[in-house]
Amino acid sequence: MNPVLLIVIPLGFAFFIPLLGFISRKAEKFIPSLALLINIILSLSLLPSVMRKPIIVLLGGFPPPFCINLFVGPVGVIFSLIIAIVGFLVSIYAWSYIGGDGKREEKYHMLYLLLLAGATGVVLTGDIFNLFVFYEILCISSYALVAYLGEKAGVESASKYLIQGSVGSTLILIAIGLLYGQFGTLNMADIAQNINTINPLHLFIPLVLLLTGLGVEAAIFPLNAWLPDAHSSAPSTISAILSGIAIKIGIYAMARVVFTIFGAYQILLFLILLGVITLLVGELSAFSQNNIKRMLAYSSIGQMGLILLALSIGTVEGISSGLFQIFTHAFSKSLLFLAAGYMIYQAGSLKISSLEGMGKKMPLSSLAFSIGAFSLIGLPPFMGFGSKFMIIRSLLEKGNSLFTTLAGIVLVGTVIEGAYFFKVIQRLYFKETAESEGGVKEAPVGALLPMIFLVVLIISIGVYPKMITGILNSCAGELLNRLEYIKAVFGG
């Protein structure tokens, strides 16, 4: 199977949705799930072969660097697998949560599928301008989806997101222009191959512009002002996708730029600093929230800081622990937003205090929420334990007092995280409420199934982390080993 289908299938199905709408509006909501299911199967079937040797897909059939090429290595395939899994589960949840027979629902389902197509494109491409194009697909569809509810808050936060995101994208485009001017090529492997022929002084600004632009989407401090508003005013399915997938794409692109293209290990210390600040700012802000979705959004910022910190350690162990944390957060945070979605719907309010006593009224959703929270905090036997343990271990392995201090800071972050999550869980289970309005029902089966599936994933990877660590190590190898990357593209 040609890996380009991973991008073409969601695109094609998204274009197909309006045509289906002429026959049956009701069937439209199943299309995203179908497309993403195909993507899951495709990624799984590609995984064994790319673990041995990355596949280079030439688009248009010209030799690189003259055409656009996809670099389908372990990183690309595992990311597209995660995108497809989370996207598939959230799209099933959306069957009942969003529904689908109106004009706006139709547009929602199309934009949703296009967002994930863009995300898949970013992780698979081997061309920096192509990366920008797919990044734009991802960003523009998320601006629109944040405004989906059409409320004043939603439109306002979408505009805020749009302005900050567009400034970021512009910076990326300028950086790509400067790189093209100096190297005469847009192929990532070709730039990586010639990076040493150019004076680093002239590469500094393109690198800074790229990191700033991508940092907006990755919500790195101080570029994260849009995130709490956007994630909290979007519908819960979109919050789940934005937190679970979209911001990870930003950090993936940053890692690709720093490690593969520039090989800029000198700035890792600076990135670690940014990561630590992001971690502390995010977790402390999350602690002081009384709006459940804002709390989850700020917690995403904190987690992004942790991920950036882990990736910037720059060793194989560090990078694989960072990738592990990316996947933990993708599963756990989307589970948290999905579980919170129907609880908020039933409680009729976003206030944490209005969720009191939900443990009895909506036992399964509350259980799913608690498991997501435990996994993010890093309790065994959930997935988050493995990833946080690996981060701490790779920090300590550096043996340097700076990194030992960092390990301490990560633990402090975990304690804060635990504090605010336990505050919510305590309210869910141990607060008695007046048995008044009896209208609170458990979420529908269609919404519970994806949550249960995510819980199963989190627990099974938590119990058998070996299932994924082998893949993570070869992913880290792909990111760190620039010579292999260049050789794979040019076949030398």
Binding site: N2, F66, C67, V133, S141, T185
Partner: protein, 224 residues
């Protein structure tokens, strides 16, 4: 103090950009990818307009993405404006000259737009430009006469044109193993029927962009 820090930051960025720009050999034939396209473009793609051969053949995948970006922008705008309340207010009907004139010009604008996207592989222009010209015709109709586009037909055009682009790409994948491979005969350069799949894709893009931009105009009308 704040202004001072901002000034220093701007200074650093400006000098960095200047340093990078000074290094770029403008006007010299140093860029390697560019040279390759200039020297071998016509022979490899059959399109005498090298820009078109780069946009649709060498970097056709980017164009697929760009088309999707425009599609998403139109779609998102349509979704957001659906929730807006449209005001009813008194408007003056346009003058006789304007309404007759715009109706008279409309078919010529469509014809010109079609010419631009059909000849994209021969002369400056292409699907995006042709589509924009076509949409400007619809804008004129909106301004001059009280007519509306048929949203359903436009939506159908958009989706079909997008699918045509993808299917042409997939046919390349099927026939030769490369997505968006130029699998049709390249013909004689400088004639209308040349350059293989390039004119076909530009026709699809022309229709798609025209329908999308006209749809954006329709969505942004304050009153319907």
């Amino acid at each position: 103090m704040r202004k001072f820090i901002s000034l220093i930051l701007v200074g650093i960025i400006a000098s960095g950009i200047t340093l990078s720009l000074l290094k770029i050999p403008f006007g010299t034939p140093k860029t390697k990818v560019g040279n390759y396209y200039l020297n071998r473009g016509i022979e490899q793609t059959g399109a005498v307009n090298i820009v078109t051969s780069v946009v649709l053949n060498y970097r056709g995948f980017d164009t697929l993405g760009e088309v999707t970006v425009l599609f998403i922008a139109a779609l998102g705008l349509g979704m957001v404006t659906l929730t807006f309340k449209r005001e009813k207010r008194e408007i003056q009907p346009s003058s006789f000259i304007l309404s007759v004139g715009s109706r008279f010009l409309f078919p010529f604008i469509l014809l010109f737009g079609t010419y631009i996207f059909l000849h994209g592989h021969l002369s400056p222009g292409g699907g995006f430009q042709g589509g924009a010209i076509i949409a400007s015709g619809f804008l004129l109709i909106y301004l001059g006469c009280k007519r509306e586009i048929n949203e359903k037909r436009f939506k159908l055009t958009e989706s079909l044109a997008g699918l045509v682009f993808l299917i042409i790409g997939l046919m390349g994948l099927y026939f030769s193993g490369y997505f968006l491979f130029n699998f049709l005969p390249k013909g004689v350069a400088n004639t209308l029927f040349s350059a293989g799949i390039i004119p076909l894709i530009y026709i699809a893009i022309g229709f798609k962009v025209g329908a999308e931009l006209a749809g954006i105009i329709n969505d942004l009308m304050e009153e319907k």
